[in-house]
Symmetry: C2
Subunit: 191 residues, 2 copies
DNA sequence: ATGCGATTGCACACCGGTGTGCAATCATCG
DNA sequence: CGATGATTGCACACCGGTGTGCAATCGCAT
């Protein structure tokens, strides 16, 4: 079927997100299919991973593009982005995990456009004074966005279920240098 | 010699920090020694990694303990901790990288006491009002401390040399909910 | 029922890393 | 010099994952 391919990708994104070293066999089994079948769709493990990240990056780019009301203030745009990203953040765990090891280069290349947009947004926020200048825009955006993933991660492993959307929004805004009252109000507008 | 063992550990902490999947051969070569020699000191790869992390955790615990002027305000104690941690943060990259994959369990166990102390410090700061409550103490400390590593990382890969100590101090304090003027002044006192 | 495409179930060859055994070297100290 | 301990250089067996080839099977539409 055509959806076997999709199912494999869905499962793989989950499995590799948890244990990046999972082999084709493990992924196949989790997808309820035989190793040989996976090779039918993806000639090599590298192909699987690449397809996987392309998919993830596309979805994330879509989320990012949706909020381009170009006139909105940067802090508000950021809050928007995170609020849309948050429900999906676990699916995208792959990216963080896979960035290191074996495929670092490829992933980084795929991810670049997204991270560039983010950096632009942050730069813009620094220019109009809504974000701080304690770090250069490129690094600041990296740190802020990866903090969101860390929050999701810690939430999963240590403890029960999910925090609300406000937690990551407020936290990342604080990190970006937005004063606490403003951060809180931006977050509450989205919960 | 007795220092061969030390040299191997020194090199391994660096090599594995960069590429966590490096094999015994790679590590040996980087240490200017033959694979067989490494096996002489560490019967298995797992032993090497364990020795490695124990060492790192001990050093880090020492850094953390040094600042236990128990009466100091939490935000100041945090700034102290980061300022002492910062120069060493690259050596400890292993921890972040190795926490995932293969040894996750062991590492987490070794790391627990350190992260508990950190969580206590943050909790104490939340109680006396110097830190925010946008996240539970356990998670907040995780995020703050891993942000420091992210900063060091981004600094290395994207761009030239090192930011000053203030960058990580200010950033992590903001993340913890410390208002910007206070954060800045705490940081400047340490640069 | 026939045919077709997707899936399965093996059996392979291959590779790279792990861990071990053992004899040969080398440096050093007495 | 001779002994001792560390290091080397190979050769080996073993394992687990990768990728491939091919015949058998299954489900389904015509």
């Amino acid at each position: 079927m055509a959806d076997t391919r999709e199912r494999i990708l869905d499962v793989a994104i989950r499995v590799l997100g948890t244990s990046p070293d999972a082999g084709m066999g493990e992924i196949a089994r989790a997808a309820g299919v035989v190793r040989r079948t996976v090779y039918g769709y993806f000639p090599s493990r590298a192909d699987l991973v690449r397809a996987l990240t392309e998919r993830a990056v596309n979805e994330i780019a879509a989320v990012l593009a949706r909020g381009d009301a170009a006139d909105a203030p940067a802090d508000s745009a950021w809050a928007d982005f995170i609020s849309r990203l948050w429900p999906l953040v676990h699916r995208y765990r792959v990216l963080v995990v896979l960035r290191r090891g074996e495929f670092g280069e490829d992933i980084h290349a795929l991810l670049e456009p997204v991270e560039d947009s983010l950096a632009d947004l942050v730069r813009q926020g620094q220019d109009d004074g809504s974000f701080g200048r304690h770090l250069p825009a490129g690094i600041l955006s990296q740190v802020a966005w990866s903090a969101v993933f860390t929050i999701a991660d810690s939430d999963l492993s240590s403890g029960s279920g999910s925090l609300g959307v406000s937690a990551p929004i407020v936290t990342s805004l604080l990190l970006l240098g937005v004063p606490e009252p403003r951060a809180r109000s931006l977050a509450e507008a989205r919960s």
